[in-house]
Symmetry: C2
Subunit: 339 residues, 2 copies
DNA sequence: TGGTGATTTGCAAGCGTTTTCTTACCTGAC
DNA sequence: GTCAGGTAAGAAAACGCTTGCAAATCACCA
């Protein structure tokens, strides 16, 4: 069968406890013994059973990634790979693995979290893109289980999270369009119950208000993070009594869909309608025209989230609860009037 | 502390064994006892400790996903999210979770696999995009550990795998271009040591040969699965003594980069150069021009891989070792001459 | 009444580790 | 040569669960 600590002990002529101590680099162990044990491990091809280890030591070196329900939206978005890449890079460095489970309903979502948390399967949890009044947040707080938000909680200010200043980002994006001379500016929002949607919408509204511009309700279009949304949005846009000359769009992928949809109805970007979107997924630069976008540092978002969680787990008392990843506006052709 | 099976037993007035049996739906347990135990679990908020459970039962309900080293390439590609989505959907259905670990070097990669496999952390392993002479494949065969390839092994015919008929797919793509009247057709390949690259290149060559067309070595350009590759490829293309009028490209994202790069040097797709690529990532349809591509059924690829692995794990003797996901050519504007 | 077999439950060992507590051993000072 | 003081190694109990085997209970019939 598989080789255990006892086998190693027998071969090395020591007790299992000693082997265990060698394994965890216990200081008070003689170099000679260490050598003997190491050799035995080598010849037997020993590898510790992580289950047994976690059972007694009560940690798993695993982080749980809880995907928002109806994760389809997120998944289909390159944003997700990129944030995952950042997470894995950091986790990898600290010898952590990532456990993912997806869910289709809120019920399944809670079950998944319970399996992970109450089943002692992970040491900490990462919550992506939380919603308003997210029950998972409540649950984890109730359990007093370590977790970090990628995004922020509307209700709990003291929860550790990594986020952009989405309000400011949308504010910047809108102001850029205003500076380009646009007066009628629309906004395409993500799912209504997500905190990020709320923040960005607010940023857009603030910029419009400060510039003394009308902020009409029918210029705010709801979408989700799928390219089809961009496509669908077009019919709404076309039916508007007064059509905006520019849009702030909450996600590059929606922008792709919109540009395409506009093209099909004979409208050109940026000549007829200017566009600024969010995220700077790597393809946005290769779009035709290249898309002006707010670079939110996706990779860093993922990396720092995991880093924060690991710091929490290692007992470090992390006083700064909120980490803000800086954003910057990348002006490309989709928002450049007549060049 | 956390509530265990003993607590439940005490409250329900039965023995721990009985509780365990209720948990696993043991047939010979009286309905009355079941009810009592269920109630006790409910009031205590009991959740089984998965570590303890796996320690004795020797399975973890977890699948390990081993990413190819230098996974950056893959990650940055929407292909990856989509395949992951398929995997998670299937795993989720069967109550499995996915454990990911990434690695930067071959050494780290082997360590990760050992942690997973020898550490008894997962029940089975999924290997993505295997390379020629992949040491991980050898290792898993040596351990006799259940695993499934997403892709195929060049050396081992009897390994369970889910794959496309990449040779035929490239053959189809090339023939499509030939049918459009092209005679000078180039090929942009993925990393040389990956099996998929080999297969697609072979398909391209076969089509060219059968059509009696020259298959010049300097028309085969090596790239990796990054958009930058497409970009870089351009300088190579421009320096060719005799330039192809069309390209078969092994990945949509490279195609994006190439279209952009060609545009920048004043060449138009499809008017100057036609393009057919692979994968049909969702953005390929929204490209400008929309990209003709081989739809390889990414989602299904992921879904079926996990399904096959789970079937293996559940003891079902799966006789059919190779599952081929059908592909189809989607003709879009990037390969349509003058309309 | 006692024996038989079927059905339900409990006992206890074991899964592969870690860790506390003890013991054995060695060093050096008196 | 004895004993304190310290260091290195072992014994054994846990961690929370499963499961083979034995015991208990009960119905039934001779």
């Amino acid at each position: 069968m598989s080789v255990t600590i006892k086998d190693v002990a027998r071969i090395a002529g020591v007790s299992p406890s000693t082997v265990s101590r060698v394994l965890s680099n216990h200081p008070k162990i003689s170099p000679a013994t260490v050598r003997k044990v190491r050799e035995a491990m080598e010849t037997l091809g020993y590898h510790p059973n992580i289950m047994a280890k976690s059972l007694v030591s009560k940690n798993t070196n695993t982080l749980g990634l809880v995907l928002p329900r109806s994760a389809e939206e997120l998944f289909a978005n390159p944003f997700f790979s990129e944030v995952l890449r950042g997470m894995l890079a950091c986790a990898n460095l600290a010898q952590y693995d990532l456990l993912m489970s997806s869910a289709n309903s809120q019920k399944e979502e809670l079950e998944a979290v319970n399996r992970m948390v109450l089943g002692r399967r992970v040491d900490g949890v990462i919550l992506m893109a939380p919603r308003k009044n997210d029950p998972i947040v409540e649950k984890l707080l109730e359990y007093d289980f370590p977790f970090v938000l990628l995004g922020r909680s509307l209700e709990h200010q003291d929860v550790h999270c990594v986020n952009n200043d989405n309000l400011k980002a949308a504010y910047d994006a809108t102001n850029h369009l205003i500076a380009q001379g646009h007066r009628r500016i629309g906004f395409v929002s993500g799912p209504k119950d997500m905190v990020v949607s709320e923040d960005r919408l607010e940023g857009y509204r603030r910029a419009m208000r400060e510039a003394g511009l009308a902020c009409r309700e029918d210029w705010v279009i709801n979408a989700d993070f799928l390219q089809e949304s961009g496509f669908h949005a077009i019919s709404l846009v076309m039916n508007l009594p007064e059509r905006p000359t520019a849009f702030v769009i909450t996600d590059d992928i929606i922008a792709f869909g919109m540009i395409r949809g506009l093209y099909d109805v004979g409208l050109r970007v940026p000549d007829d309608i200017s566009i600024v979107s969010f995220n700077n997924i790597n393809l946005s630069e290769l779009s035709n025209p290249p898309i002006s976008t707010i670079d939110i540092g996706i990779y860093h978002l993922g990396y720092l989230t995991v880093q924060l969680l690991i710091r929490k787990l290692s007992g470090e008392s992390v006083s700064q609860t909120q980490i803000t990843v800086p954003h910057r506006l990348l002006v490309r052709k989709s928002s450049m009037k007549t060049m």
